[in-house]
C-alpha cells in the first residue's frame, strides 16, 4: 500500500517527530509508514489523514 505521507508532511513543513506527536505515535511508526513497511490500523490511518488534512483515500493508495 503506497502513501503520500512524506509529500504532505513536507507541504506542511512537519518533521517526522512533529507528525508523530500530532498523531500520538512513536517517530519510528511514521518512518515505517513513509517507507510503506507498515500497514496502519484504520484508526491510525484516519488520525494520520486528519493530521495531514486529507481523507484516507487521498493519503493511501491500495495496490492490489
Amino acid at each position: 500500500m503506497k502513501n503520500r505521507i512524506k509529500e504532505l508532511r513536507a507541504k506542511y513543513n512537519l518533521t517526522q517527530e512533529d507528525l508523530a506527536k500530532k498523531v500520538g505515535v512513536r517517530r519510528e511508526t511514521i518512518v515505517f509508514l513513509e517507507r510503506d513497511k507498515y500497514n496502519p490500523s484504520l484508526y491510525l490511518a484516519y488520525k494520520v489523514a486528519k493530521a495531514l488534512k486529507v481523507t484516507i483515500d487521498e493519503l493511501f493508495n491500495f495496490e492490489g
Binding site: 517527530e17 506527536k21 512513536r26 519510528e28
Partner: protein, 145 residues
C-alpha cells in the same frame, strides 16, 4: 508523575534488581571455585539482558523528554509477534534441553545430570534470548502482520 515515567521507573528498578542479583551470584560463586561454562553463562546471559534493558531505558527516557509515547500500536505488534515466535522457539529449546540434558550437564557444569534449577534457568534464559532477538528483528524489519 506521568504513567509513562512510572513505567520507566519500574523497568529501571527491575533492571537494577537483576543487576544486583547478578552481582550477588557472582560474589557468591567466584571466590569459591573455578567457574565452569554453566556458571559463566549464568552470569553472562543476565548481564546481556541488563545491557539490553539499559539501552532500552535510555532510549525511552529520551522519548519521554521529547513528549513521545512509550508504546504505540506498532510497538505493541512488535512485542506480540516477537513473543509468539519466541514461544515456538522456546518449545523446541525446552525439548532440546530435555533430550540433551546429560550433554549439557557434562559440558556446562561437569555433572551427570542437571538439577531442576539449572534446567528451568536454562529454559528461561533461552526464552529471554529468543524474545530479545525476535524483538530486535521485528522492530527493525518493519513488515508486521
Amino acid at each position: 508523575m506521568g504513567k509513562n515515567k512510572i513505567r520507566l521507573i519500574l523497568i529501571a528498578v527491575l533492571t537494577l534488581t537483576l543487576l544486583g542479583g547478578i552481582a550477588l551470584y557472582g560474589l557468591a560463586i567466584i571466590p569459591e571455585k573455578e567457574l565452569n561454562p554453566g556458571d559463566m553463562l549464568g552470569i553472562f546471559i543476565p548481564l546481556l539482558l541488563v545491557v539490553f534493558m539499559t539501552f532500552l531505558i535510555l532510549r525511552r527516557y529520551k522519548d519521554i523528554k521529547q513528549g513521545m509515547p512509550l508504546e504505540d500500536e506498532r510497538s505493541r505488534k512488535v512485542i506480540i509477534q516477537a513473543a509468539a515466535k519466541s514461544f515456538y522457539v522456546s518449545l523446541y529449546w525446552l525439548l532440546c534441553i530435555s533430550f540433551f540434558e546429560s550433554f549439557f550437564a557434562n559440558k556446562l557444569f561437569g555433572l551427570e545430570h542437571l538439577d531442576a534449577g539449572q534446567t528451568v534457568g536454562g529454559g528461561i534464559a533461552g526464552m529471554a534470548v529468543a524474545f530479545s532477538i525476535f524483538w530486535i528483528y521485528y522492530d527493525r524489519k518493519g513488515k508486521l502482520i
